[in-house]
């Protein structure tokens, strides 16, 4: 048998592919060849044996018939004492019938006539006819496959025996020849088998691999990847791998289908209504007539710092520590109240600080007693509301001050203006200043409204920075003089013309410079340092004022925020100026930053990227 190249397969790089099949094929081929050889040998032997038997039987019959004829003639010739004629007869008959030996033996064992001439020793028949020797073999008729003994009764003499021996027509020689023939045919058959095997080997290897894969499946192997066989094993291997891949795909599909079904069931179980309730940022609780929770959405669980599953079925009084809400629910449950009740609850103790608004209302108008509680986080609304209240109060104050001044100076001008032109001029100046202040305050309030509405936008145009700073200086010079504060503008010799919203940039600068003057006590100093490079405009407003604490520094840009310093509280302000300033500067792509030390002064810095006019 040829060497099966198992090693070559084992050394193949495919680790999971079956490198097997070869050993199966090899042993199967070997067994088949041995079996074929045995069958052929057995068949040859059987044919030979049968043929031999038939031939022997036929030969024996022939020999018997020829022997009988020879016996009768020999008896006549021996009775006539014609020994030589009898010898010729024996020799002729033996040659004619191809007997291996043929002789007539007298009772004493002497040979009267024989095919073998050397045995013919008698010259004539003995006169007294010999008797059988005692102890000698009795003369009798006897026949076997190869020899025939016939008793002769020679008239006038006595008895004798004709012994014929006939050799088998197929001897040992021919038997070996037959065996050699069988061997040759067997060897030829083996060669043919070998050639066929060589040709069929790949196919057989594929079959072997498939068989082993099937055995693996029977043994419980479920990983499809382990059942894939080498694709180089021929089309059968390809087809097998295709079947495996298809099975794998179908199995995956089934798994995916099951997963989808399961998911579908889950999704079905959570209806659109549930999903919608869970998407609500407001907490929703439905409480039955026993004040136990029937339903809670995700937000409700979040607000109550609990889990939905924990809330379900629980008495509301056990987890809601708000007496008013619990009472309202009980009122609805008992039918004592049919009205909506709202309670704002400030949470301070533990957990997140904030204000939650609980609204309790009956679900139905009938007396089922089921109540619905909605929970909203109104902390920011509350903060905005408070800020607005503060703003209104401050804005009223801010507006009232210039208005009062204007009224007073108008009255003075009316009363004394005619007589005192200097006084009239002073009054008009004050009125002018206060009117501008009013205009600015109204502008700020409008800007705040725009920021609130999200419509605060820039109207970009060419801005001449030199003019802008001139206006600014003109606006504040008198105020600084009045307050005895040194206001100095450090301006570069040349300003570029930039793109931006002039009024809004001016508003931002007004707020910073105005604040600096406002919060700097008498004999203090305010410096406005302007630096313009090709890419950046930087304006530093330095003062020697009251300064800002670190805590406040983080918050002063928040809307409506005013520092907690009691000195600040004495000075009017809306808490909007810095918010606006930063908003404006940021809209221009820059930023406002602050550095400050309490009681030493502050430095506000505006940095604006330069967009020069084309």
């Amino acid at each position: 048998m040829d060497a099966v190249p198992i090693d070559t397969l084992k050394s193949a790089p495919r680790s999971r592919l079956l490198p097997h099949g070869e050993s199966v094929v090899a042993s199967a081929g070997l067994a088949l060849a041995a079996l074929l050889l045995c069958v052929m040998s057995a068949s040859a032997w059987w044919v030979h044996h049968t043929q031999q038997t038939v031939l022997d039987a036929s030969r024996a019959t022939q020999t018997r018939a020829a022997g009988d004829l020879l016996a009768e003639t020999a008896e006549v010739l021996l009775a006539q004492d014609d020994l030589s004629a009898a010898r010729r007869l024996v020799a002729d008959t033996a040659r004619a019938h191809e007997f291996s030996s043929c002789r007539i033996v007298l009772p004493d064992g002497q040979v009267a006539a024989s095919l073998d001439v050397s045995e013919n020793k008698l010259h004539q028949l003995p006169a007294p006819w010999p008797q059988a020797r005692p102890g000698g073999a009795p003369l009798s008729a006897d026949a076997s496959r190869t020899s025939v003994n016939i008793p002769l009764a020679i008239p006038g003499r006595g008895q004798a025996q004709l012994e014929i021996s006939s050799a088998s027509s197929i001897g040992y020689g021919s038997e070996w020849e037959a065996m050699a023939g069988v061997g040759t045919i067997g060897a030829a058959a083996l060669v043919v088998l070998l050639a066929l095997y060589r040709r069929m080997r790949r196919k057989l290897r594929a079959m072997g691999a498939i068989r082993e894969a099937l055995a693996a499946v029977a043994a419980g192997e479920t990983a499809m990847a382990a059942l894939v066989i080498g694709p180089d094993l021929g089309p059968e291997a390809g087809a097998w791998n295709q079947v495996i891949a298809e099975t794998d795909r179908v199995r995956r599909q089934a798994v995916a289908e099951r997963a989808r079904e399961a998911l579908g069931r889950r999704q079905e179980s959570s209806s659109d209504l549930d999903a919608a309730c869970d998407a609500l940022p407001q907490g929703l609780l439905v409480v039955d007539e026993k004040s136990c929770v029937k339903y809670a959405n995700g937000a409700a669980a979040g607000f109550l710092r609990s889990k939905r599953d924990d809330l379900a079925g629980k008495d509301i009084g056990k987890f809601l520590d708000v007496a008013g809400v619990v009472q309202a629910v009980r009122d609805v449950a008992t039918g004592a109240s049919r009205r909506r009740q709202t309670l704002d609850v400030e949470q301070k103790d533990d957990g997140p600080a904030g204000v939650l608004r609980f609204t309790v209302r009956p679900v139905r108008r009938d007396d089922s007693g089921t109540a619905m509680i909605t929970i909203e986080d109104i902390t920011q609304q509350r903060a905005a509301e408070e800020a607005r209240h503060r703003f209104v109060a401050q804005a009223t104050h801010e507006l009232r001050t210039p208005l009062t001044n204007i009224r007073l100076y108008v009255e003075t001008a009316i009363e004394d203006g005619e007589a005192d032109p200097a006084m009239r001029s002073k009054c008009l100046n004050v009125i002018n200043g206060e009117t501008r202040r009013l205009e600015r305050i109204v502008g700020e309030m409008l800007s705040v409204a725009e920021i609130e509405a999200g419509s605060f936008k820039l109207q970009t145009d060419d801005v001449r920075l030199d003019q802008l700073f001139e206006d600014l200086l003109a606006d504040y010079q008198q105020q600084a003089l009045d307050k005895n504060v040194t206001l100095t503008f450090h301006l570069p010799p040349k300003f570029p013309v930039v793109q931006g919203d002039r009024d809004k940039i001016l508003l931002a600068l007004h707020n910073l410079v105005g604040n600096a003057l406002k919060y700097t006590p008498e004999t203090g100093k305010v410096d406005v340092v302007v630096e313009a490079t090709e890419k950046l405009l930087s304006v530093q407003v330095r003062d020697t004022g009251i300064g800002i604490s670190d805590e406040d520094a983080e918050k002063i840009f928040d809307r409506f925020y005013r520092a907690r310093d009691p000195r600040v509280a004495k000075i009017t302000g809306s808490g909007l100026g810095l918010t606006l300033a930063r908003e404006v500067v940021r809209l221009h792509g820059g930023d406002v930053t602050v550095e400050s030390r309490l009681n030493q002064g502050s430095t506000f810095t505006i940095t604006l990227p330069m967009k020069t006019a084309a």
Partner: protein, 111 residues
């Protein structure tokens, strides 16, 4: 990673500064989770100083917004630059968040 914090009314504006990458993601997530539990979700993440976000950073943001999703909220992001917006769009995660142009707009959304 530096995360500055600003209060606007009852809303906290958290402003991470620097790229939001693997090394910073746990710190950011911890900070956001803390803000969530301390404020009932009244906070905003200002991404104006975040040049870019990697997968871990994204994961931290998604984890927080999913946590908020259980109580009907979503993480509010504002001022995300083009690169960050592209990352969110490409990963189909943009819809998990509420987006605003700037911190003020995000804060106003609580009203």
């Amino acid at each position: 990673m530096k995360i500055t914090e600003q209060r606007q009314g009852a809303v906290t504006v958290l402003k991470p500064e620097g790229a939001l990458v693997e090394a910073d993601a746990p710190a950011l997530k911890a900070r956001l989770t803390e803000a969530l539990s301390a404020s009932l979700g009244r906070f905003v993440v200002d991404l104006s100083a975040v040049p870019y976000v990697d997968s871990k950073g994204l994961e931290a943001l998604v984890d927080v917004t999913e946590e908020m999703g259980r109580v009907g909220q979503a993480l509010r992001l504002c001022a995300a630059n083009k690169t960050v917006r592209e990352v969110l769009d490409l990963t189909d995660l943009a819809t998990l968040f509420d987006h605003f142009d700037d911190a003020n707009a995000a804060v106003r959304s609580f009203l």
